[in-house]
Symmetry: C2
DNA sequence: TATTGTTATACTCTATAACTATA
DNA sequence: TATAGTTATAGAGTATAACAATA
């Protein structure tokens, strides 16, 4: 049951186990960063998603949760002055959620607080970094297009 | 504000953005797989962690939540016959959680149900797969040792 | 005394269903 | 009639604090 690197190429299953371990550590780093900034996990995810304005419905999709939950989550972020609701004039049913300056700054702080991931990435040589970037883009592209 | 691949090597910040996107998709695939098997997110994580017996305390650490929460989570898994508690004879305060045959099989099913990640990994050439494996091991190793 | 696991409690997250306002 | 967002509610996850059993 090979789990680590071997002279021959690892199978997709081997890589998946490694990827699973890595994503667990990544997620933990994200959670810790969020908590240091007084954000729950979902709040931090929302703030980081709001690089540009998004409808409530889109945010529910991105968090893969029911749309009804977004109301309260955004309520709390709005009370903290991190986001604002703007009715879409093209379709007055839609509310676009927009990050305020504070919200945008906090999203950046979340990323900055992910010391573990950041430091680990700094240990990569430029060529390995380029390689990782390229492979992740291939994987991500394949996974998102296959969902359409 | 470069986000995608470019002729020069991407910075750690560039790669981090890509990694964030990828981990979000990965996590969603895991959640969907868990829900198809009637497991909550935390339950699925626990089941997948129990390749070998672990103390309640260790599980809390792995899920980075308070130890008190593990009690109810394990209660539910135990009621479904997926895990068992065994008092550690070396230290009778400790309870080791052990996956049953059904629990082990279900953990494997969770991994099998992650079609998106699996299919994406299948698109990698052997050399890129080997490269990804090696890079992830470097990153994971760096992040876990820096936490000690 | 310190540690493991449990219980009780309160807050947050999440899904479901019923409602409103717009389309 | 269909859709975007809201409200109400119930079930699950989580942290805090206090407790029993064991070390």
């Amino acid at each position: 049951m090979p789990h680590t690197s071997s002279p021959v190429s690892p199978t997709a299953v081997d890589v998946m186990a490694t990827l699973t371990d890595f994503c667990r550590v990544y997620q933990q780093d994200f959670l810790t960063a969020a908590q240091r900034l007084d954000l729950t996990y979902s709040q931090a995810k929302l703030v980081c998603l709001l690089a540009e304005p998004r409808a409530m419905r889109e945010l529910a999709e991105a968090l893969s949760c029911d749309a009804s939950n977004i109301t309260l989550l955004i309520d709390r972020l709005e009370q903290r002055g991190l986001v604002e609701r703007h009715t879409d004039q093209a379709d007055r049913r839609v509310k676009k959620v927009v990050a305020t300056a504070e919200g945008t700054a906090l999203a950046q702080q979340v990323r900055d607080e992910m010391h573990g991931v950041r430091a680990a990435l700094e240990t990569l040589s430029p060529s390995r970094r380029r390689s990782l970037q390229s492979i992740l883009e291939q994987l991500h592209g394949h996974m998102t297009t296959s969902l359409d």
